[in-house]
Symmetry: C2
Subunit: 355 residues, 2 copies
DNA sequence: ATTCAGTTTGCATTCGAATGCAATAATGCT
DNA sequence: AGCATTATTGCATTCGAATGCAAACTGAAT
């Protein structure tokens, strides 16, 4: 191969008649040989901003097209120390809401010239191995919408890999994060519930090890109390439809009689609503009002029409990608929190409290 | 660097006191130097099945652990001509059913030592650029659950990249594919509908450019006719909830009065059911029966409880991954179709025809 | 024609791991 | 011990593109 490389200044085109492609994909050397230029010239043609004459560019591009040359991103990654790969960590089962974000993030990454390397994380052990995998693949950054321990995060930081958290974060530690703050909206809803005559509320919370879930629950408790509603019962779910249903059962079994239930996410609210209607025979919203968080597409299906607090998933995804690209380009970039406002979707799942 | 590499046979450990890590991640050379062995030895330690003594392995592993060495998958990919990356193509918006498959596929790939490089494809143009992207990243294979033209497929084949279609395929061309054949189930359901006294059916089909959609529609027409039901109307949807609702409206507007509607997927069935109940004031199933395809999780929420034909997504995902790994390991492997049986989920959306 | 600045181009090296080959060490066998 | 095998190990090269540096070229000004 070394002897095939051009020797003296003006390498002649086609001075080597070895067929360019025999099974093997074309490399920059193949293109160089075909165009009668050096490999460096080919490389420069594919790197925007390089010093190259128009004549040379045309010549190279013609040859490149001829053999369908596309630069090898793997080889490029090795020399530039940039893989253009971003690990995207999602938890598969938990929340059917995230696919929307995942697709959006993937698209945005792609327009930024980056590719999403997808990892599903179900447990902390998963996270462990996922981080090692990502590290092996030299990912330029990590967008995490799944659980990650402090130690795992620290490991990534130590390895100088930028991390952006999507809807989760460590409260007592600086980190880069995008999330949604629904406090104003839950305040407004609590106020509205009070005006509708509600006095007794119940809460179906999410897993306590989940930051977003905890925060939503905390805000809800505060908002309800502030508006003069009593929280007569609490149940803990796991974000799933089933746990919304069983959460309602738990509340009833505890002997509580709330007139409104706040669910920490839409999925549980749907489970709760279905259980109320089909098992307990309650009418929603006339017998029981339901409020929730997320604003996922399904929540507005006419069987549900939830009154919920929407997260602006699209803008949050854009922000997450922007934040990761900024940090890939400049690793010194400081931490940043981007907090989006929620928005109430009025829905039809709340009404005046039954008398 | 060349002068740092060990010169003669037994290279002494630590004969070079340059700090191993100064910002830079450890390489096999760093480990080799620390352990006092050659780089090849380190490489062999991380390749299962290599000729290496136990003593050497321990020594290397100790050094590797010390500097947290993990082989660089990018560099490995360059030399082995294997990226261990598989492109997974999904269409983002269309079908909320695929996330389940996507996560499953990702997990399965991961246990096979492969990583999923995620691409969203909305249009044929997208597919074009996605294929080029995937090619640049030297993916070892492609799993496509999205649209792809014959020309695009041919391009991938020409480039010797194995492709597995997930629930789509080209009928008149050999290719490797996993899909679900619901013909027996739809026959059984048609039979059951006839026994329940149904005579007039309507069909809400999917996009005609979608193979699965076309096939389901075809089978449905055949099954219904065979069982003596007349198809009094057909509407075409796009798999979305909204198009299920508008499909029903189209049917009604055409003046048809079916007693049962077959929807080509669950999502449209839910839209159709909600529209029937909340807008047309019909009772499902007593006034109108509904049948569909997919068996996605939501379809069994108690607001819907669809009678639907489930695809075994889990097993299909496993099969897809198995098929792609087989073909990555042996590119000569011939084409294969793996067809899974559907399964009827009885649900509660069909009943005796109203008189 | 000469000089000089500015552009283009090519050369040689680099990234990090894998591997064929040859050298060496370890082991078995007589 | 002596010789033949076999198992380990190291050496040198390779994968494909990017890039610092120097050589060559361009054009303009003198």
């Amino acid at each position: 191969m070394a002897s095939n490389r051009q020797k003296k200044n003006p390498p002649k085109a086609d001075d080597n008649v070895v067929p360019l492609i025999k099974g093997r994909r074309a490399t920059s050397y193949d293109v160089a040989r075909l165009a009668g230029v050096s490999q460096s010239a080919v490389s420069r043609c594919f790197k925007p901003g390089s010093s190259i004459s128009e004549k040379m560019r045309k010549r190279v591009m013609k040859a490149a097209k001829e053999v369908e040359y596309q630069p090898n991103a793997i080889a490029r990654g090795l020399i530039t120390q940039r893989s253009n790969l971003v690990a995207v960590l999602v938890s598969g089962r938990l929340n059917l809401y995230y696919p929307e974000a995942l697709f959006k993030i993937t698209e945005e990454l792609s327009t930024a010239g980056l590719q999403a390397l997808l990892f599903t994380v179900e447990s902390e052990d998963d996270a462990e191995s996922v981080i090692e995998q990502a590290w092996q693949f030299q990912v330029d950054g990590v967008i995490s919408a799944s659980h990650m321990s402090q130690a795992q995060y620290d490991l990534l930081r130590k390895r100088q890999i930028p991390v952006v958290f999507f809807n989760r974060y460590f409260a007592d530690h600086p980190n880069t994060v995008v999330y949604c703050d629904p406090s104003e909206q839950i305040d407004a809803l609590a106020e509205q519930l009070a005006e509708l005559g509600h006095k007794r509320a119940a809460l179906i919370a999410g897993p306590v090890d989940n930051m977003v879930s905890r925060e939503r629950a905390r805000m809800t408790r505060e908002a309800l109390t502030r508006s003069g509603l009593e929280i007569v019962a609490e149940a803990e779910g796991d974000f799933s439809y089933e746990s919304g249903a069983s959460g309602l059962q738990d509340i009833k079994r505890a002997g509580a009689h709330p007139t409104v239930i706040i669910c920490i996410n839409d999925m549980m609210a749907m489970g709760c609503m279905d259980e109320a209607r089909s098992v307990l025979g309650l009418k929603v919203p006339s017998d029981l009002s339901i409020v929730s968080f997320d604003g996922m597409g399904m929540s507005q299906f006419s069987s549900y029409e939830l009154t919920t607090i929407r997260q602006p998933i699209g803008r949050m995804s854009e922000a997450a990608v922007k934040m990761i690209t900024d940090r890939v380009d400049d690793p010194e970039q400081s931490h940043e929190k981007r907090v989006f406002q929620g928005a109430v979707i009025p829905g039809g799942s709340i009404a005046r409290a039954p008398t």
